[in-house]
């Protein structure tokens, strides 16, 4: 049976990835900073589908390494990694301001969480994949990382976040080039505006109305006519992790409902 390690496993995207991977036959090890929520997700997914859970901060290099190693040891190997830790919940004031009005100190945490932490998890996992003869990585990037785009009026206020996510895409491309000959595939996905643990689906609908009321068009929807559900991202991740994507590596799959085209 295939085992996947998921960072940010208690977040909306992380748990959607877990749910989708489980229904595709994977067992999952979940890591998250929020222990209570992690327990709930584990119960929800069913004990038999959980390889392990770890309460940790994805920016703790040593903790991530220990958890990944532990997962591989207790489960006889490791085949997958999904890095879904991120979001702006733990970085007050980091978003929603023009770059010149942000405090440089806020960038450190922003880059640590969204870019460096992805390296930590990949760095912990790759040697184990090499020992196991291969594996699949999917890093959660963002449509913001594909271009300084849309909705442009919002991304303007998320320039460092966008830069970090662009870094995730290039990091993934680098791994694809380095590790391909050793049976490792590495891809990323780029969600657009999607529900999260801090922004529920209902809240997003309200937000869109408010934005449109404030500035016509600023809350506009992607071409597919709705915001993203976490499950949309989970399905894309599961596809990239699966044998169905056996010849796909270095890709960044846009799961934004086309919002990037605006």
């Amino acid at each position: 049976m295939s085992i996947a390690f998921i960072t940010g496993g208690a977040g909306a995207i992380g748990r959607a990835c877990a749910r989708s991977l489980v229904s595709d036959g994977w067992r999952v090890a979940l890591a998250d900073i929020d222990g209570d929520e992690l327990q709930r997700v584990a119960v929800d997914l069913g004990k038999e589908n959980i390889a392990d859970i770890f309460i940790l901060d994805a920016t703790d290099f040593d903790a991530v390494h220990a958890a990944v190693k532990n997962t591989a040891e207790t489960n006889g190997g490791l085949n997958g990694l999904v890095t879904a830790a991120g979001g702006l919940r733990y970085i007050p004031g980091a978003k929603d301001a023009p770059f010149t009005e942000t405090a440089p100190e806020s960038w450190d945490r922003l880059i640590e969480v969204h870019l460096n932490a992805v390296y930590y998890a990949c760095h912990a996992t790759l040697p184990i994949f090499y020992e196991c003869g291969g594996g699949a990585i999917v890093n959660i990037a963002s449509a913001a990382g594909l271009r300084g785009g849309p909705p442009h009026l919002r991304q303007q206020n998320a320039s460092v976040y966008s830069a970090a996510k662009a870094g995730v895409i290039a990091l993934t491309q680098s791994i694809a080039q380095e590790a391909g000959s050793r049976g490792v595939r590495a891809n990323s996905v780029a969600p657009g505006r999607v529900e999260s643990r801090t922004k529920s689906w209902d809240e997003m609908q309200r937000m869109q109305k408010e934005e449109d009321a404030r500035l016509a068009g600023s809350g506009r929807l992607p071409p597919l006519g709705r915001f993203g559900r976490a499950a949309d991202v989970g399905e894309a991740v599961t596809f990239l992790m699966s044998e169905r994507a056996v010849f796909i590596t270095g890709a960044c799959l846009d799961v934004s409902g086309g919002i990037r085209l605006h």
Partner: protein, 241 residues
């Protein structure tokens, strides 16, 4: 005459940029962590009206702010900013596969290449906003466009620069400031030897510092008055192969 502030001016690419701008009549503020290196670059430049040199480590936020403030006060304006400080081997680090890359090396490359650009842009933009004009060019890399073997950290940082540049377009445009990036590939550097295989580029030769200097000179000039948010590939076609 207009003033350009260059970071990483002691590097070969920084020198190429300084030469190109000096030849076009720009006044120069040359900054580098290696002040002596910046001085020797300055000694080889054609004569310009005004030129100053300052030691500046782009990861030292307080120092960056101080140098930018002094530059604005001394020259009266900062018309162009060229972010050239960065690199991997130039920092004394060796390319490594990600699985063998220690966290201190990862952070160092991100801090210098990506945060360095953020630090300097953040310090310079208020000056450009106040004068309601300016042009910013940041040196990214072809690896920022497609990733690169044994350089995941460098690739990530450079990709970050490209997208950061794009996201800054509106904020800059509001004040008449343009912001672009350049993606060199196979570029010559002081630490490179001639047998580094750089001639594999479709155009048959490595990218010279002069090539980069000319591209920068164009982007900061009025000839590029309607160009912003762009990333210009100056790699002799290497990026595609």
């Amino acid at each position: 005459m207009a003033l350009a502030l260059i970071t990483g001016a002691a590097s070969l690419m920084g020198e190429g940029i300084a030469l190109a701008l000096a030849a076009r009549g720009w006044n120069l503020m040359l900054t580098d962590i290696d002040e002596a290196g910046a001085r020797s670059v300055a000694a080889g430049l054609p004569k310009v009206d005004r030129l100053e040199i300052a030691r500046m480590d782009v990861t030292d936020r307080a120092r960056v702010r101080a140098v930018v403030e002094e530059t604005a006060a001394h020259f009266g304006a900062i018309d162009a900013l060229v972010n050239c400080a960065g690199g991997l081997r130039g920092l004394g680090l060796k390319p490594k596969p990600l699985a063998e890359l220690p966290p201190d090396e990862w952070r160092r490359v991100i801090d210098v290449n990506l945060k360095g650009v953020l630090n300097v842009v953040h310090a310079v933009l208020p000056v450009m906003k106040a004068q309601r004009r300016g042009a910013i060019v940041s040196i990214a890399a072809s690896r920022g466009l497609r990733g690169g073997r044994n350089a995941a950290h460098y690739s990530a940082a450079k990709a970050g620069i490209i997208v950061f540049t794009q996201t800054m377009v509106l904020e800059c445009a509001e004040y008449g400031v343009r912001i672009n990036s350049i993606a060199p590939g196979n570029a010559e550097a002081r630490w490179k030897t001639s047998d580094d295989g750089a001639t594999a580029a479709p155009l048959g030769r490595p990218t010279s510092a002069e090539d980069i200097g000319k591209a920068v000179a164009w982007l900061v000039s009025d000839d590029a008055a309607h160009v912003t948010g762009a990333c210009i590939d100056v790699s002799g076609g290497t990026t595609l192969y």
